[in-house]
Structures are given as structure tokens and as C-alpha cells.
Symmetry: none
Subunit: 213 residues, 4 copies
DNA sequence: CATGAATGAGCATTCATTCAT
DNA sequence: CATGAATGAATGCTCATTCAT
């Protein structure tokens, strides 16, 4: 009896999780199309095949929905970066691979970058935000550690410098994303790929010397 | 008589300009406190000591208000960057001075960075926007040219590379600003000043070689 | 089970229709009291016992509300005219009956006339308007056809002349309504009923000759 | 001295009247372009070459401005109708000429008809309205008398019937104007001129018999 | 006489959230 | 669990009118 109930609970629980994810993904789609500020709960509900009120069964607040989307995005980012530059890979391009993965991840996804950086930029009401902020930081830190490990493996940094240099280089990638997403790069007639190559070259002085004798 | 009338017109005109600036500055204050998206015309009016309708005597549209604030910000940015790194200065640190000025300008002003970069982030309706976008681009371009000239003067870039390298380095500064403004830097336990120093060092291979023999 | 659900849907649907009609009727009342231009959504909502926002659950736009009221009015007009002068009636007074019904309908309803004729008077923005305009035209045409059929049945017009004469006579009735509703008739010390009788007499030359030997 | 002052007062008075008329005419122009409801005091002022506040030196209220425009329109109407069908003219077409003049006057002027009939149709706030209403009525009455005189002169009515028949026929013309101005005539595929001819024929049984033997 | 800044009430519409069913 | 009606506050903007200058 107890086991059955538990099994039933589990099934119910997993169904609930499934539906929650459905709504979360719908939200993400709407964010991409209308921008984060332009997405209303009504529209997200419609995109998910639900009515407005049903959303609140799964997310107490619009901000919780934001959080779920962001969490999902961060998990995907981590997966992508570690896949692109696995821990066991041979040295020589691990840092570059990680940084390129970081760039590609946000470049190809319409709303993820905005979600991660814009949403918590302003002086917005707090709430669940505190926890979410911690998660965002943890995810970011993990990515930094991965880049740092790559830099060490590639012989571009000592273990002590690793984190500092990882943040330095990731910062540049975020800057490039900002310039691209806001259309400034286009107006400056510069190409993201070319800039990326230039920047990565400065990371590795050996390559730099070879390229410019 | 004629002169008197003209003088009167001038006085009136300058009073108008003064009040317009008052409202613009109030808007800027509200932008800083509530974020740009969260600032309503009502609140701006209240902050300026006016009723809502009065704002429309000076700005036909909320977007025109945005424009005025942004324009003011861009003019100040340009002034600050060129002052910090004058055209006639002796080589040796002109690029660094310009980049540091870029950093300091946005670091010390609460809403200017958001204003310049996020206004065009979403899928917003257009309008006067087109013109404003052009202005923003022109201002940004002028800053890039200035940094580029510094790089050439400092012997860090050939004239052909100047623009490309200027954008590359400014991109990094913008990335740093983004990390700082969103609180990511703090959570990563990194210091903006230290990162800035690290980055500027990589710009100058001579220094780099000295630092890392 | 299925049947129950359907029944539930039906009940809900009919409740919705009922409430929609309630709002529509409240709108009509407000139109009557304040004039169509003077009626605000706020006031209509209050008259219907709702908050402002609730109106938008039933009508996406103020113009849709207009449309619903006008549609209702046109349906009632058509019903009244065809009832007053049924297709199968014996000749001799069918046209007169139809024209009198047209008169009575608009005479006794405060805002219907204004609704039908003034909504498109100004240089208003379009929208759903196009469709609504078509409906109005179709309804008017149907009434004209009915009057025309009466004229033919009564021997007052050949089938070719029917439409032309129907419009001619309906035009007069609309003129009378305009004079009445704007209070001009009263100030000219004329009586609508007497004028109507006079006009109807000119429609039928036989009667005219009898009256004036 | 006294005489001089009076002369001065007169000149001032006539200048004032002149400027008043300027504003009135500007208002009329704006009414024609934007519709009466769509005309704001600001826009009228601009069209007259004044600033907003200046209008209130000449007209205490927007409604007084309406009144002035309407008064002017009524005077013009009276002039046009009496010119088209002078008192001394030979009988035979005087009534028709007057009715045609009535039609042409309102047909060719965009806003006059709306002004005369719409403005005072609704349940609007009163005020100066009472007096204006009387003027409108007097003007209308004069036109009716003129049409009536024509009917008598043309042998279409006895002096006792004159007013009654004048109102009857003018009512039809107003109906035609309403149908035309609101676009209903076009949608019914009827032509104003043809309808007018048809109606005028029914006015004169003699002509009718000749035309349709 | 003329200006134009300022008021204050008003407008249609949107939206996150709640809750009876 | 899901619905969708309802709330209430907010938003950008317009407008007739007033009044100090």
C-alpha cells in the first residue's frame, strides 16, 4: 500500500515535472520571439497550450518562471562548454575551445544572454532572486573553472593565475556578445568571428609571434 | 526695441532649455533608480516637480526623453575620453588612458551604460529610434577612432589595424562593465581594477615580455 | 461523461454570451445618455457593474463594442421592418407599413440612429471598421429591398424602379429622423406624424388625386 | 477728444472683429480636415497663426468657437439659397432652385452639415447653446420660408400649405445629405443627382405626368 | 494683446495575479 | 488540475482651459 502510494506519488510528481518543463520551454520560445520584457503570462500560457491561471499551478510568480528558464539555460551552457572542451582532452586548444563554446552558445540562442545578464542587472524587486542569483554565480564559476583548467592545460597560465585569466578572457567574450546582440558591432563594420580570432591570438603569445613575424 | 525683443526671446529660450534639462536630469535619476524599463513618465514628472502632462511640453514622446538623456550621456562620454587622452599627448599611454576613461565613465554613472546598450536590446517599436541609433553609432565610432589613434601613436597598432584593435579592446571594457554592473564580478571574487590592469598588459607585448620573462 | 462535459461547455458558453450581452446593453444605455463620442469604456464598465479591465475579456476593443451594439440594432431593425410588412401580405399598404416601421424603429430608440449614421461620419481610424461597414450596408440594403418589394406589390413601382424609389423614400424617412432627433422639427413647429402622412401621400399618386380634386 | 477716442475704439473694435474672423475661418478649415470632434484648440490656433492661449482672448470657450463657425455657415446658407432663387424671379422653378441650392451648399462644404446637425444632436452640455440653438432655428426657418414662397409662386402649394410642404421637401434634402455624407448612398449604388431629380419630379405632378405619360 | 508653460482630469489599453467553479 | 472571469493598478498620451509674464 505504502509502496503503491509512493509509486503513484512518483508518477504524479514526474508528470508534474514534465508539464512544468513544457511551460518553461514555451516561455523560452516566447522570450525569444518577443523579448523578455515583451512576454506576458497570457502569451506564455497560450504558447504552452494552457490558460493563464494554469501557469500559477506550476510557477508561483512570473519571476519563478524566469528562474526556471534561466536555470535550464545555465545547465545547457555548462554542458556545452564541458562537451566542447572535455577534461581529458589533449592540451593545445582547450581554452580556446571552451571560450568558443561560450561564444557560440549565447550567439545562437536569442534570449539566453539577455536572460542571464539583463534580468538581474536593474534595481528589480527581489524575492526568490537571492537563490537564483547564487545559482547563476555557481554556474558561471563552474564555467570559469573549466576555462581556467584549459588555460593551465594549454600552458597559458599557472594554477594561481588560472581563475583570474579565465575571467579576463570570458569577460571579453561577454563584451563581444553584448556588442553583437545590441547591433553595435554591425554598425562599427566589424565581424565577430574576426574579432574573436584576434582576441584568441593575443591569449597565446606563441601563436601571436608566429602570425606576425 | 528690436534688441529688447531678441533679448527677451533669448532669455525665454534659455529658460526653456534650462527646464528641459531639468526634466532630462530627473529622467536620468529615475532611470538610475528604477531601471530604464521601470521608469514611467509619471514618475519622471514627479521627480522633476511637474505634472505628467507638462513633460509633453518639452518632449513629444517618452522616447524623445530617452533620446535626450542618451545624447547627453554620449556627449559626456566623448568629452571624457578625449580629455583623458588628448590628441596632442606624448605617446606611451594614450590608448590605455582612453580605455581607462571609457571604463571610468560608465563605471561611475549608474544608468548610462544600460541606456547605451539595452535601449535597443529588445524587439521594440521604432520611431525616432532610427535617428537615435545613428547618433549612438556615430558617438561610438568617434570613441573607437580616438582609441585607435592612441594605439597607433603608442606604436601598438598599424593604421590599418587601428580600428579593429580599438574595437577589440573596447569590447573587453564593455564586457568588464557588464560583469560589474550585473554583479557577476563580485560573485566571482575578482576585482575590476586588477582585471583591467591584466588586460591592458596584454595589449602591450613589450610590457608583457617584461612582466613574464 | 462526454455529454456532461459538453453540457458544461454549453452552459459556460451561454453564460458568457449572457454577460457579453449585459455589457453590450450597458454600452447602449451609456451611448444613449452621453452620446456615442462621449461614452468611455470606464463608464460603460461601471454601468455594467464591472471594472474597466473586465470589459476586455468580452470585447477586445472599444470599437468591437460599438460593432456589437450596432449589429444588435441592425438585426432588430430588420426584424421590425419585415414583421411590420410581411412578404405575404396583401398589397395596398406594404410600402407604407415598411416605411412607417423604419420611422418608428429609430424614433423610439434613443441612440440607434446616431449609431448607424454617425459612427462613420468623422475621419476616424479604421480597423475592424471595414467589416462593420459592410454589415451596415448589407443590413441597409436588405431593408431597401424589402421596401422595394412592397412598392412593387402595391403597384407603386415597376421592378426596375423599385430600388431607386425605395432609397428615395427611405432617404426621406432618414431626413425626418435627423430633423426630429436634432430638435429642428419641434422648433419649426411641425409634427413628424403629419409630415410622414404628407410624404406618404405623395408616394401614391392615386391617393394624392383623391385628396386634391 | 471724445470723437477721437470713439474712432480709436471703433478701429480697435474692427481689428478685433477681423482677428476673430481669422480664427473662426481657421477653425472651419481644421473642422473640414480633421472632423469636428478631431479638432483641438491647439490645432486651430496653429492654423490661425496664434498660440493656444490667444484663442481665449476671442472665444471664451471651444463651444463659442463652434458657434461662430456655425453662425457664419448659416448666414452663407441663407445668402446662397436666396441668391439661387430670388424673390422676384418668375415662377416655374423657384422651389426647385431653392432646394437645389440647399443641397449644393451642404454637399460642397465638408464640415458645415456635420456642424449644423451633429453638434447639437447629442446630449451635450448646454451653456451658450441655448442662444445658438435659437439662431440655428431662425436661420432654418428663414430658409423654409423662402422655399415655401417658391412653392406658392410656382403654384405647387397654397399659402397655408407652404411651410408644411417646404419642411417636407427640405427634410428630404437633409436625408439625402445624410446618406451621402455617411457613405451610405455609395454603398447602395445610388446617385445623389438621380435621386434628387426623382424627388423633385414627385414635387411637381404636372411635370411628372409629362415625363411619364 | 499674445505667449506658452502648466494643470488636472481624462482616455483606451495591458498585465500579473487571484479565485470560484 | 485547469479554467477563464475578474481585479486593480499602471501606462503613455491628449486636451480644454488658466495664468504669470
Amino acid at each position: 500500500m505504502d509502496a503503491e502510494a509512493t509509486a503513484g506519488d512518483d508518477r504524479q510528481e514526474s508528470v508534474r515535472r514534465f508539464k512544468r518543463d513544457l511551460i518553461r520551454d514555451a516561455a523560452k520560445r516566447v522570450f525569444s520571439e518577443k523579448g523578455i520584457a515583451g512576454a506576458s503570462v497570457r502569451e506564455i500560457a497560450k504558447a504552452a497550450g494552457y490558460t493563464t491561471g494554469a501557469i500559477y499551478t506550476y510557477f508561483a510568480t512570473k519571476e519563478e518562471l524566469y528562474a526556471a528558464v534561466l536555470r535550464d539555460s545555465l545547465a545547457a551552457l555548462h554542458a556545452e562548454v564541458t562537451t566542447a572542451s572535455p577534461d581529458g582532452a589533449v592540451p593545445g586548444g582547450r581554452a580556446e575551445a571552451a571560450l568558443r563554446a561560450l561564444w557560440t552558445f549565447y550567439d545562437t540562442r536569442r534570449s539566453d544572454f539577455e536572460l542571464g545578464f539583463y534580468l538581474y542587472g536593474g534595481a528589480r524587486p527581489v524575492g526568490l532572486t537571492r537563490d537564483l542569483d547564487r545559482e547563476l554565480n555557481a554556474a558561471l564559476d563552474a564555467v570559469m573553472d573549466h576555462i581556467g583548467a584549459g588555460l593551465v592545460a594549454d600552458g597559458l597560465a599557472s594554477p594561481e593565475e588560472a581563475h583570474h585569466l579565465a575571467v579576463t578572457s570570458a569577460t571579453w567574450v561577454f563584451g563581444l556578445l553584448l556588442m553583437t546582440k545590441t547591433g553595435r558591432l554591425r554598425s562599427l563594420h566589424e565581424d565577430a568571428e574576426a574579432l574573436l580570432t584576434t582576441y584568441l591570438a593575443t591569449l597565446n603569445p606563441t601563436m601571436t609571434r608566429k602570425d606576425r613575424p
